[in-house]
């Protein structure tokens, strides 16, 4: 089994290196090390599950080894920017001031079609309106439009709209969330009043009830099954 442990480390590092060399667009939304972990763990777990002739330890030990190596790498990436750059890569600016950096695109094996697809997905059809397009280490493209192309904000218009804050679920499919109710500084009396306003008397009759920081209530009655 010592061979299995050493092989696991070697294969893990080798696949990370392989994925890094393949370029960001192969990675999708995962970091290279996360993708490798997912791929190998799925396979390692499957083999002892399917083949009863293989001891369970032969699957468990490599998975434990992988998790240890991943934890070590993640701590090292948090502590060292340089190590993080080696393991996960750096973001690449592929469009700057509406101009495509062709060399950077070639380096990342990112095609014009893929760039246009990403821009369209973010509602941009004209490359000249893009200030920056950045290919992130996760494989996604962040697009920042030029200032003149950005939507106007309330502050720019001199307005000061009310902050609603995060809505909190108080009743979820007929179940009362007591902890959430208390966390909001509310009680059952308040809840009863809100329910009465909507013509119901029990949480069982509510599908969804949320309240935000401003006290706005969203109510959805439960449909009869």
């Amino acid at each position: 089994m010592v061979i299995g442990v050493v092989r696991t480390v070697i294969l893990y590092l080798l696949i990370i290196l392989g994925i890094r060399l393949m370029g960001k667009r192969q990675v999708g939304e995962l970091e290279p090390s996360e993708l490798v972990l997912d791929l190998i763990i799925a396979d390692l777990a499957a083999v002892p599950m399917q083949d009863f002739g293989i001891p369970l330890l032969a699957g468990v030990l490599p998975i434990l080894t992988l998790l240890c190596v991943t934890m070590i790498l993640s701590v090292l990436t948090m502590r060292s920017v340089r190590f993080r750059a080696v393991l996960c890569g750096r973001p690449s600016v592929i469009v700057k001031d509406g101009k495509v950096d062709q060399q950077e695109m070639r380096r990342n094996r990112f095609t014009v079609d893929e760039l246009h697809e990403e821009l369209r997905a973010q509602g941009i059809t004209d490359l000249n309106t893009v200030k920056y397009a950045i290919l992130e280490t996760s494989g996604r493209v962040s697009v920042l439009p030029k200032a003149a192309e950005q939507p106007v904000t309330a502050r720019q218009m001199g307005l000061s709209p009310q902050e609603h804050g995060l809505p909190v679920v108080l009743i979820n499919d007929g179940r009362l969330m007591d902890r959430a109710l208390k966390a909001q500084g509310l009680d059952r009396v308040w809840l009863k009043q809100r329910l009465a306003e909507h013509g119901v008397c029990s949480p069982d009759q509510v599908f969804l009830l949320t309240v935000d920081e401003a006290g706005n209530v969203c109510f959805v009655a439960r449909e009869a099954v």
Partner: protein
């Protein structure tokens, strides 16, 4: 930082346990093959009772660690060693020196292969 040390410690522990396992397996198979070789020497001198006792002792060594062996080795390898033991016992009872010698040699080779499969060597690594 605690996570880093814990992970490193667990990794070292796993590595040490697997190295320990390979050393123990080498020791176990070494003891059993020694007994089987002694049994073969006895059989060559027509001392079949002694050969039989030594083979039984070797089998007992293997059987006493059944759970450990099934937990750490491929089950097919463990089963093959059992089958070989049964074959050797059969030839011991029929007192057939040539057949017994061949069967015993096969069992010894099988045990050596089981141990070598777990050894930390470049050959196994590649």
């Amino acid at each position: 930082m605690r996570r880093l040390w814990l992970s490193l410690a667990l990794l070292v522990l796993i590595f040490a346990a697997t190295v320990g396992n390979s050393l123990y397996l080498k020791h176990l198979t070494g003891t059993i093959t020694d007994l089987l070789e002694k049994a073969q020497d006895q059989a060559m001198e027509e001392c079949w009772e002694e050969a039989d006792a030594l083979t039984h002792e070797a089998l007992r060594h293997w059987q006493d660690r059944e759970l450990y062996l099934y937990t750490t080795l491929r089950h097919a390898d463990t089963d093959e060693v059992y089958t070989s033991f049964r074959e050797v016992e059969g030839f011991l009872h029929t007192r057939e020196p040539q057949e017994y010698a061949a069967s015993n040699a096969r069992l010894i080779a099988r045990l050596e292969l089981v141990a070598s499969m777990e050894q930390f060597s470049l050959q196994n690594l590649l």
